[in-house]
């Protein structure tokens, strides 16, 4: 198992386009990847490969998420996805 916590800096959070970018990236790994929104309800988690699951966690700008992966490429998946979120998922964000 691998996990990481990362802050979301996208202006609209993980709503439409950034959620889609995240889900497409997660689908590229064999590992089971789930994530939860620590700033809203840490007990709820969703599959990172489900755009509805990702949107349903209502991640807004400034929220912290936790990514957890289980499976053959778990370490790689978590590292890649955490980096992707930190860099703004293709959107312009101010990185502190």
């Amino acid at each position: 198992m691998a996990d990481a916590e990362v802050d979301v800096r996208n202006p609209s959070g993980l709503h439409a386009r950034p959620a889609a970018t995240f889900v497409r990236a997660a689908a590229g790994f064999a590992a089971d990847v789930t994530f939860s929104n620590l700033s809203r309800d840490p007990s709820r988690s969703a599959s990172a490969k489900s755009v509805l699951g990702v949107m349903g966690l209502a991640v807004a700008r400034g929220h912290r998420i936790r990514i957890v992966a289980n499976g053959p490429d778990a370490d790689e998946a978590v590292a890649h996805l955490a980096e992707l979120v930190a860099s703004g998922l293709g959107e312009e964000v101010d990185i502190e």
Binding site: H15, A16, R24, S47, S50, V51, L52, G56, A58, A60
Partner: protein
């Protein structure tokens, strides 16, 4: 015999055509395709729509289709549907129910943006069910008024514009997706027409009046003739107005006034600029606070505000701080019942009672301003005197210190309280702009409740007293070096009102975008000296009715 069903006006105009009933989800029909194959076919349809929208330059709607395409392939949605099938549900019903469960969970979270996505989830699930049962995509065969309980986003996009005469919905509101789209496309629409869907299957012809909010079932010859005449007259007026809509707001001798838009939802900004707005002169922010169980946090508000600043591409956006009061109760902001909410604890008067409300909103506006890299304009409503203004200036200063990376905002006030008119020369030198809210100013000056229909005749802002009040504010502003004056009440979008306001010397008129053409035409056919003289004479007349007659006679 004509039957009339009353609803709510949603988009102006009149249409008479055959009704075309849009039925949402198929229920109980046998499946011809597996869930997997039906989803793949639905994705192909959605991608084709996205391409079509991109080709027409409608990028925002294309992105919604991209998101729908991913939803249609969502493993969580498929698993939920498979589970329902295993429990004995028919496959087409299972996908609809699975989508409904997701949509309901989105709506339950209390996040405005997410709740708006619920319609997309239902839309996608209905499409998969339709493909699964072998039903073709909805298509208009002839000129039609489209009837539905509510119209999902993709269907509104898919319908052939050339055959779409009007839209009549049993549900929905003025701010529902279909209503906003109808207004931006110029298609007449009525919403909230109870009993419509049940009545329509036996109706041959359906007339709608989008200004009055009425649906006519099988209109008789007389009603049809009246609607046709109204449609022809409206069409002629619209054509004459349209010739002016894209031009500048100016008198025929070249005196220019800024043409700005009033909006109440972030999604309306893009259409406002497309319609020719030079600025957003009034962005009502109450949408962010209504229909929720908890107060919206800074990030949620900032995301919505940033959407408008982005659509503005550097043009001015005036954010009016939340004008919340006892007339529209909000669950998480308890306000004790008041006998006169319009004279009560509202807007900035709530600052002491709810100390987080305004700072959070100010931080969100400045946060959005910093994120987008655009300067915001902040307007405080209900400012009555210098003490109120001092409070506003202090709150803005604190917010600027808390969000140092935002450009310093323009700061202004809305003048609607008569005391602020009398004190305008004391207030104007300390701010960047004033915007006059003529709706409330009229009701306060004439002591005539806006919500009391029996007093309607006393609520006309063309009243000489209102014109004098506006003249007094303009004079106070002229005595300063930087302060500008706008009008953002309905008077600005009324061609007669707009002519008087230009004559009184206001710098900006802010109105509903659909009024642009009519206002530009009315002002554009007059000279500045004529309008100045007209406004001066009007201030000495006896009644609003006399003023209105004089403006119309002079045209």
């Amino acid at each position: 015999m004509t039957r009339e069903l009353r609803g709510t006006p949603a988009a102006p105009g009149v249409a008479v055509a055959a009704p075309w009933l849009h039925r949402p989800a198929v229920t109980g029909a046998p499946a011809r395709l597996s869930l997997f194959d039906a989803s793949a076919a639905a994705v192909a349809e959605i991608s084709a729509l996205a391409t079509l929208l991109r080709d027409r330059g409608r990028e925002a709607e294309a992105e919604i289709m991209d998101a729908q395409s991913l939803m249609a392939q969502d493993p969580a949605l498929h698993e939920a549907a498979d589970q329902l099938v295993a429990d004995g549900t028919r496959p087409a019903d299972a996908i609809v129910q699975a989508g409904e469960a997701v949509a309901a969970s989105f709506e339950a979270i209390g996040d405005e943006i997410l709740a708006a996505r619920a319609a997309d989830v239902r839309d996608v699930a209905a499409r998969i069910a339709r493909v699964m049962t072998g039903v073709a995509a909805p298509r208009l065969e002839r000129r039609s008024v489209v009837v539905a309980a509510d119209l999902p986003p993709s269907v509104t996009v898919e319908l052939d514009r050339a055959l779409l005469a009007g839209i009549a919905l049993e549900g929905g509101s003025r701010t529902s997706h279909a209503a906003i789209l109808s207004r931006s496309l110029g298609i007449p629409a009525v919403v909230g027409v109870a009993g419509l869907c049940d009545a329509v299957p036996t109706v041959m012809e359906l007339g709608i009046d989008g200004d009055a909010g009425i649906a006519y079932l099988d209109p008789d010859a007389e009603t049809a003739a009246r609607l046709a005449a109204a449609s022809a007259a409206a069409g002629e007026r619209a054509r004459a107005d349209a010739a002016f809509a894209a031009g500048v707001l100016a008198t025929n001798d070249g005196h220019r006034v800024i043409c700005a838009a009033n909006i109440g939802e972030p999604t309306e900004a893009e259409a406002a600029f497309a319609a020719g707005a030079e600025a957003i002169g009034l962005f009502r922010t109450e949408f962010a606070f209504a229909g929720r169980s908890t107060a919206p946090d800074e990030a949620t508000q900032a995301a919505a505000y940033a959407q408008v600043l982005r659509a503005a591409h550097g043009a001015e956006v005036v954010f009016r701080l939340a004008d919340i009061g006892g007339d529209k109760p909000i669950a998480y902001l308890p306000i004790e019942p008041e006998a006169n909410p319009f004279l009560g604890l509202r807007a900035i008067r709530l600052a002491a009672r709810h100390p987080e409300l305004l700072p959070t909103q100010l931080h969100a506006i400045l946060r959005a301003s910093a994120d987008v890299g655009a300067r915001a304009s902040i307007m405080a409503p209900m400012v009555a005197d210098e003490e109120d203004l001092a409070l506003v200036l202090r709150l803005v200063e604190d917010a600027c210190a808390a969000v140092p990376d935002a450009a310093g905002p323009r700061v202004g006030i809305m003048i609607e309280v008569p005391s602020a008119v009398l004190l305008a020369d004391r207030l104007a030198p300390r701010i960047d702009f004033i915007s006059i809210g003529t709706n409330d100013l009229t009701q306060y000056l004439l002591a005539a409740d806006r919500s009391n229909a029996a007093l309607a005749a006393r609520q006309d802002p063309l009243h000489p007293a209102v014109l004098r009040a506006i003249g007094q504010v303009v004079e106070a502003v002229r005595g300063t070096t930087r302060c500008t004056v706008a009008v953002c009440g309905e008077m600005a979008g009324d061609p007669a009102g707009a002519q008087l306001l230009v004559g009184l010397g206001v710098d900006e008129l802010s109105m509903e975008p659909r009024a642009f053409g009519a206002v530009k035409r009315a002002v554009g056919t007059r000279s500045m000296p004529d309008l100045v003289a007209l406004a001066r004479t009007a201030q000495h007349m006896r009644s609003a009715a006399e003023v209105r007659r004089a403006v119309e006679a002079a045209a």
